[in-house]
Amino acid sequence: MEYIIKNGIVYDPTNKIEGEKKDVMFKNGKIVDNVSSDAKVLDATDKLVMAAGVDPHSHIAGPKLVVGRLYRPEDSRRGVKPKTATTRAESGFSIPSCPATGYRYSRMGYGTVVEAAMPPLEAKHTHEEIVAIPNIDIPALALFGNNWFTLEYAKDNNVEDLAAFISKWLKITRGYGVKIVNPGGSEAWGWGMNVHGLDDPVPYWDVTSREVIHTLAEANESLGLPHSIHLHPNDLGHPGNYETTVGSMDLIKDISKNSPVRDQTVHMTHIQYHSYAGTNWRDFESGAEDISKFINKNDYVTCDVGQITLDETTTMTADAPMEFDLHQLNGLKWANKDIELETSSGIVPFIYSGRNSVHSVQWAIGLEMFLMVNNPWQIMLTTDNPNAGPFIRYPKVISWLMSNKRRTEMIEHGEVHKAVGRKSSLATLDREYDFDEIATISRAAPARAYGFTDRGHLGVDARADIAVYDIKPNEIDPSNEYETIECAFGNAALTVKDGQIIVQDGEIVSTKESQTIWANVQGIEERENEVMKKVMPVFDKYYTIKFENYLVHDHYIHNPIEVNIQAGK
C-alpha cells in the first residue's frame, strides 16, 4: 500500500530539513521518494510533520515495573479506561499496564522506546512484557554495572574478556546495549551499603566505580556496539553530586569512539538527578552550570534529562540504596528487588509537588540543563519515566521548553516554590526551543545516540515511522500558545508505524505487534567460548537456576529486529 502525507511542514533534523513544506511518501513500511498515482493521500496541509518519536530512556517493561503495578493498585486505578473495538482496557497513571503503555506512546506520536534496565536473570520477563506492549519497537539495555563477572574483569582490567562476556550476555538476554547503574553501589546494597563517589571501593570486591566505568566503556568500544555505555552514575539525588557526575564523564575522555553510527562514547542518563550542588537538602542548589559547561566542551557526551513533572509518580531504579533513602525520606511503601550476582533495585511512590522547595528546584535544574546545553544533539527529552514523571507528560515538557512565558508564569504565580529563584538560574534563561530543536531532542538525537539509522528521520529507506501533529508551525506562537502545543503533542493527528496507521486524531485506529531490537555481535565466538569456560563453573555454583533455563529462548522474541555487528569494526 502506498501513501502520501501531503503538504505538511516537515522537520527532519537528520536530513537538515527545517520546516519545509513537502510531501512525505511511504510504501511497504518504508519511506520512499515517489509513489504512483494510486497512493492514498493523507492531507496534512500546513501541519507539523516529524519522524515518530524515539525515547532514549524509559522504564516500561520488566520485573521492576511489575512490582510497581502489583503493589500500587491505587495507581493502576487511576487512568482506567474500558476496552474499545480496537483497544484493550487500560489502567495506570505512572505505571500503566502494558497495553496502555503502547497506546499512550502512540497517541504522542512515538514509535521507538528504549527500556532502560533489564536484569539478565529476568530478561525473559522483560521480553514477555515487551510482547504485551503494542505499537512500539523496544530495545532493552542489559544491566552490567554491578554484575559479579564485570566486577572481576574490572578489577583485573581485563577488557578483552569483559568484551566477550558482554557480547555473549547480549545474545543470552537479547539486549541492545550496556547499562550501568550506580556502579558498585547496587552490589554494596547487597549488604545494605552504598558507594560514594568514584573511588570508594565496593565491599569485598576491591574495585572502584571508576574502574568499572572505564573498563566497561573500553569493552563497549572494543566491540563497537551501536550504543555507547549508558551511564547512571553514582550518588544519584545527593546534594553535591555534580562533582561525581563531572568526574564520571571526565574519566572516559581517553577512550576513542569505535562506531560510525553514533557520536558519543558515553550517554549520561537522567542528568537532572546528577546535577546537584550544595552539601545537604538545606543548602541544596543547582549544579547545572558545571555539568552543562562540561557537556558543551566535550562532544563525546550525550545525555537525557529526566525532567521532573511535578506529579504523584512511582520511582524505580536499579539504584536500590537510593530508593531506600527515598523511602526513609517520605515514609511511603518501599519495594526492593535484589537479583543474584547482577543487580538490585528499589521502588517507592513519590509525590513531587510545586509547593516543595526541593522538588521545585529539581524541576528547575532539568529545565536549566535543557536550556544551558547548547547543542540539542547532546541532550534528549525524557522524564526517566516513571521516576521524574510519567511519559505522558512529554507534551507538557515540550511546552515548557518552547515557552519562556509559561516558565516565568510558573515561577511568578507560585506554581513552583520561590526557592527556584534563589537556587537556580532558570528565571534568567530566556531561550526557547524551536520545532527543529524539539524534533532533535525527541527523535533525531536519540536515534543517533543509539545508532538507529532506520528511524528518527524521514530519509528514503527509513522505516515509515511518522507523526503528524495538529499545529501549524508557520502560524502558531508557541511562546503564547503553550497549551495548544501541549495538546497537539499529546494527541497526534496521525501516527504511522512501519507504514501502518496507528493513530488518527488522537485515537488509536489500529494496533500492531511490537518488535524487540537487539544487538548481535559477531566475529568473536571463539573468544566467547573461552570466556564461557571460565564463567560456567562460577555460574553453576552461585546462580540458583540452570544455564539452559537462564537463556532467553526464541519463544520470547516475537519477530525481532536483529542488529548485526562485526566486533571491533
Partner: protein
C-alpha cells in the same frame, strides 16, 4: 525408610527439567523416560517426583459432558468445546478461576477470553497468599531472588511456614544448606530461626524456635518493632514469648549481616490476616536501617506467582480482576472467587488447573453445584465431581512447555519432555479454542441484531 534400588531401566534422560509442584520451581530435575512415560525423577523432592511420575494416575483422558441423569459421559472435543463456549458466551457473571498450575502462554488466551466476555479472572492467591499481596500493597515489597539468600544470608527466618514439609528442597537448594559465595560453609555459616506456634520439622532443623501463641503474631511483631525503636517492653510475656527472648532475638536480627524472612500461610491466615504480613514487612523495613534484610513469600503452586505477575503487567492488578464493566476492577472481598461464590453471584464457573472442590469452603462449593462448571485439568478430583464439562489438558513442564515464575519472580521456561496422551490437548490450545468459539458466537449475535 527402606532402601530403594536406583532405576536403571529407561530409554532416555532429559535434563534441566523444571518441577511443576511448589513455588521453588527447581529447574535441575532429570527425567528418566521409558515408553513415553516418566519412570523416574532425579534431584526432585518426594512431592515433586511423585507428581511428575504419577502423571497417569486418575488421568482425565477424554472430554466429558454431564448428562441429564447427572453422569459424566464421554464426548468429542468439538461438542465439548462448543457447549462450553455457549455457556461462557451466555453468562452474566462468569468466573474463570485457577491458572496457577498452567503456563503464562495459556493465561494469555484466558485474559483475552475474560476481556471479551467480561469475566472475573482469579487465581489460587485468593485462598492462599492473597492477604500477603494485600499487605504488599499496603506496606511494600522488599524481596530478593533466592540466590541472594544462598550467597549472602547468615540469618534465615521461617515464619508461619513449614518449609521442610511444604517446600522440601527450599532449605537445601536456596536457604539453609547451600554453600554460597559469601557463605562458603553453608549451614554452619547461618543461623536459622523458625517462628511458628507449632514445633514443626522446620523448627526442629532450626537454631532458634520462637513458638508464639496462635493468632498472637501481630502483637509479637509489634513488640519486636517497638524494641527495635528502643522501647523497654512493659509486659513480661508477649504472645507467649518472654520479653527477654524478644529483646535477644531483635538484637540478633539487628546485628546479622544479611537476613532473609520467608513467610507462609501460617502468617497470612491468622486472625489479623494481611496485617500480620503488613507488620512483618514493616519490621523488615525497620531492620534495613541497621543491616540488610529482605523477605519472600513462600508461594505454593509453581505458577501462582506467575498469574499475579501476568495480570499485573497486562491489567495492573494481581488477582481477582473483574472485567464486567469493560475495564479492570480489583476489590478484595468483592471481585474474589470465594466472595462471589458465597454471595451466589456467578452463573458460569470455569476452573483451570485448580481444585476448588478440594480447597474451597463448603458455602462456596455449594453454589458450584447449582451452576454450570467447566473444568480444564489433567486429573480426576473433587472438582470433576462438580464439573458439567470436563476438558482434559496436559501437564506443563512434562507434556507441554510453558513459562512459569518462581516464588521470587524469576521466570523459567519449563520444557516439554514427553508427549501428552493422544486424546488430551494442551491447555493453551483449549483456551484459545474457547476464545475463538466464543468470539464466533458473539459475532453471530451482533450480526443477527
Amino acid at each position: 525408610m527402606a532402601y530403594e534400588e536406583p532405576i536403571r531401566d529407561y530409554d532416555e534422560l532429559v535434563e534441566n527439567c523444571t518441577c511443576a509442584f511448589c513455588g521453588c520451581n527447581c529447574d535441575d530435575l532429570t527425567y528418566l523416560i521409558k515408553d513415553g512415560h516418566v519412570v523416574g525423577v532425579r534431584h526432585a523432592c518426594r512431592l515433586g517426583a511423585s507428581k511428575v511420575m504419577e502423571d497417569m494416575d486418575q488421568r482425565l483422558l477424554v472430554p466429558m459432558i454431564r448428562n441429564d441423569e447427572g453422569n459424566l459421559v464421554e464426548t468429542d472435543w468439538d461438542t465439548a468445546l462448543d457447549k462450553a463456549a455457549e455457556l461462557i458466551a451466555g453468562a452474566v457473571r462468569p468466573v474463570f478461576y485457577g491458572w496457577s498450575e498452567t503456563s503464562i502462554e495459556t493465561m494469555k488466551h484466558g485474559i483475552k477470553l475474560g476481556e471479551l466476555v467480561g469475566a472475573v479472572l482469579d487465581n489460587q492467591a485468593t485462598i492462599c497468599h492473597g492477604p500477603s499481596l494485600q499487605a504488599v500493597q499496603n506496606a511494600g515489597y522488599p524481596v530478593n531472588t533466592l540466590g541472594e539468600v544462598k550467597n549472602r544470608a547468615d540469618m534465615i527466618v521461617y515464619s508461619g511456614n513449614n518449609a521442610m514439609n511444604s517446600h522440601p528442597r527450599h532449605m537445601g537448594r536456596y536457604s539453609a544448606f547451600p554453600r554460597g559465595y559469601f557463605r562458603k560453609r553453608g549451614r554452619f555459616d547461618r543461623t536459622i530461626v523458625t517462628m511458628d506456634p507449632r514445633y514443626t520439622d522446620t523448627a526442629k532443623m532450626s537454631d532458634i524456635w520462637v513458638g508464639f501463641e496462635q493468632n498472637g503474631d501481630y502483637e509479637f511483631y509489634n513488640a519486636m518493632r517497638a524494641v527495635l525503636r528502643g522501647k523497654k517492653l512493659k509486659k513480661d510475656v508477649i504472645s507467649g514469648i518472654p520479653k527477654e527472648d524478644i529483646e535477644e532475638l531483635v538484637e540478633a536480627m539487628k546485628t546479622t549481616q544479611y537476613g532473609s524472612l520467608f513467610f507462609g500461610l501460617g502468617l497470612t491466615h491468622t486472625l489479623s490476616k494481611q496485617r500480620s504480613i503488613d507488620i512483618a514487612i514493616n519490621l523488615i523495613q525497620d531492620l534495613n536501617k541497621f543491616t540488610k534484610w529482605n523477605l519472600v513469600p513462600m508461594r505454593g503452586h509453581f505458577n501462582v506467582n506467575g498469574f499475579n505477575i501476568f495480570m499485573a503487567f497486562e491489567m495492573g492488578f494481581p488477582y481477582g480482576v473483574d472485567f464486567s464493566r469493560g475495564y479492570p476492577r480489583y476489590m478484595n472481598g468483592e471481585t474474589n472467587t470465594i466472595d462471589l461464590l458465597t454471595r451466589e453471584e456467578p452463573d458460569v464457573f470455569m476452573v483451570i488447573a485448580a481444585d476448588p472442590g478440594a480447597h474451597f469452603p463448603g458455602g462456596a462449593n455449594r453454589h458450584l453445584t447449582n451452576i454450570p462448571v467447566i473444568q480444564i485439568d489433567i486429573h480426576w478430583g473433587p472438582s470433576t465431581e462438580l464439573a458439567d464439562i470436563v476438558l482434559p489438558g496436559s501437564f506443563i513442564g512434562v507434556e507441554a512447555a510453558g513459562t512459569s515464575y518462581r516464588m521470587d519472580g524469576v521466570p523459567i521456561y519449563m520444557k516439554k519432555a514427553i508427549d501428552k496422551p493422544e486424546t488430551c490437548r494442551d491447555d493453551e490450545w483449549i483456551v484459545r479454542e474457547l476464545h475463538e468459539r466464543v468470539q464466533k458466537i458473539k459475532g453471530e449475535k451482533i450480526a443477527s441484531k
